[in-house]
């Protein structure tokens, strides 16, 4: 990752990869590679955000994303506050905008927001002067997850342009899938999405991706697969296939992996349902980069926080 580009970062908010250009995505990846080196030092801390304050405003429970953002902010020497708001569609009291303005009145520089409603970060970003970083909203976007997926992929295979990447699983309800589609297609990858029909949302092909219901077609010739978590807890209507059926039809097993390219990269945003999306053998196998993704997440989030905090505002 040596494609240094002169770029003045102007985006105070990082809401989604839909809203970033190819160059901006590449700039984040380049900056992340510099931060990755910081995370390998004995003293894993630099003073780039000294005196700045980051609030993790989470309307939806999340441990790993929040820890990753918290660690990223702390390694940049920022002060971090965690606010967990009860997750419910009938929240009483303060509105999102009021909460945002109150947080801002505390002289906070960056709000990292996770919300169960799509678009909540867009609305928040319009209402506050502080930077807003999206840590996942509804089914909409999860930009830092996609950035770390792409960063990991690029570290492994040296490029994104021209790669065949298949995203497998619950596409309909996945913000990770949407962010990955935006990012990968902008960087020139050939993206295929694969799921049972009921989990393919209408019009998804207009995002420039190939759609298939056939797992063998999706993995054949793929340079990488990104296997999504089956959000079984969200299946209120009971329309998803059962765990066993899903694994039989779409799960990544060792046998299935044998049909793939030998050095295929296997990714998963976590947490894994072992035996549902993939077998333990695959999750822990030599093609899996799942733990590297977790490590890279910190560097990517450091880059995102650093750029948002220092954005040149117009």
């Amino acid at each position: 990752m040596t494609n240094e580009k002169k770029m003045v970062w102007t985006k105070k908010d990082i809401i989604g990869l839909e809203y970033l250009s190819k160059e901006e995505i590449e700039h984040i990846l380049y900056t992340a590679s510099s931060f990755k080196e910081v995370t390998t030092r004995q003293i894993k801390k630099v003073p780039a955000l000294r005196g700045k304050t980051v609030v993790n405003l989470f309307y939806e429970p999340s441990t790993r994303t929040r820890i990753s953002f918290e660690l990223a902010a702390k390694r940049l020497s920022a002060d971090v506050i965690n606010v967990a708001v009860e997750a419910s569609s009938v929240r009483k009291g303060e509105t999102l905008i009021d909460t945002g303005k109150n947080i801002e009145a505390l002289k906070i520089d960056i709000i990292v927001v996770r919300h169960d409603c799509s678009g909540a970060p867009n609305i928040l970003a319009r209402s506050v002067k502080a930077s807003v970083v999206n840590a996942g909203d509804g089914w909409h976007e999860h930009p830092t997850q996609a950035l770390l997926d792409i960063f990991t992929l690029k570290s492994k295979l040296g490029r994104i342009q021209g790669l065949n990447v298949s995203i497998i699983g619950d596409i309909a309800h996945s913000r990770v899938a949407r962010s990955n589609m935006w990012g990968l297609t902008k960087l020139g990858a050939n993206v295929t999405v694969c799921a049972p029909k009921i989990l393919i949302p209408e019009g998804i092909e207009k995002m420039g991706v190939k759609v298939t219901n056939d797992i063998d077609e999706a993995i054949r010739g793929a340079d990488a697969i990104n296997v999504l978590r089956m959000q079984l807890e969200r299946d209120a209507a009971g329309v998803f296939p059962s765990k066993v059926d899903f694994f039989k039809q779409y799960g990544i097993s060792e046998e299935r992996l044998k049909k793939c390219k030998k050095d295929i990269v296997v990714m998963h945003p976590g947490p894994i349902n072992r035996g549902v999306e993939m077998s333990s053998g695959v999750a822990d196998g030599q093609n899996s980069v799942i733990l590297e993704q977790v490590t890279n997440g910190i560097a990517v989030r450091m880059a995102v926080l650093y750029l948002a905090a220092h954005a040149k505002r117009q």
Binding site: E4, K6, M7, V8, W9, Y30, T31, S33, S34, F35, E37, V38, R41, Q42, I43, K45, V46, P47, A48, L76, A303, Y306, L307, H310, A311, K312
Partner: protein
């Protein structure tokens, strides 16, 4: 703002000579190169560190280890600079613990860059000694910092600019003084 070139202080030959002299001074001063490493400050400082290491090798037959340090994240003016500095990687492939580190930069001016570099370096470990080598010292210090090895002292006016151009980054080796054209 346009800049016009006022004078050339060093050409290719004189840069070579200055570096060679600095290499000799370093060797004489440190006695043994075994526990000594060079770390250049990105970007031009690291090119000069590489050149200096070559000169040292010419004299003692062994090239000291060379690292490159990016100090962007340690700058005390991060929020003031108009153009956002790009974060580059630091590349130090050796342990600096207990070593004598010679920090290398192109121009010594206010001393603030060196302060950042010292902060950054200490985050990598505890060297037994840190020394400073610069190709040009142009004065106007704002911090109590002094170079141990200087290629050339150049008295300048505060509004002038000293630009070190190197083959690696600029296509040719020379040092010039620029001043604002009104």
């Amino acid at each position: 703002m346009t800049l016009k070139e006022k004078a050339k202080i060093l050409d290719k030959d004189s840069i070579e000579k200055a570096l060679k002299r600095m290499a000799h001074e370093i060797i004489e001063n440190v006695k043994t190169m075994d526990d000594t490493a060079l770390i250049g400050i990105k970007n031009r400082g690291s090119h000069i560190a590489e050149k200096l290491a070559d000169k040292i090798k010419d004299i003692v037959g062994k090239r000291p280890p060379v690292g490159a340090l990016d100090i962007t994240l340690y700058r005390d003016d991060l929020t003031q600079v108009s153009e956002q500095p790009i974060v580059h990687s630091t590349e130090i492939a050796f342990d600096i613990e207990g070593k004598r580190i010679i920090l290398v930069d192109d121009v010594l001016f206010t001393g603030r860059t060196i302060r950042c570099a010292l902060d950054a370096l200490i985050d990598f470990g505890r060297p037994k000694q840190i020394q400073l080598a610069v190709l040009v010292d142009r004065g106007h210090r704002e911090l109590p910092i002094k170079a141990d090895y200087v290629g050339k002292n150049v008295p300048t006016a505060i509004k002038e600019l000293v630009e070190v151009r190197l083959k690696e980054s600029d296509g040719k080796d020379e040092v010039v003084i620029l001043e604002k054209a009104d």
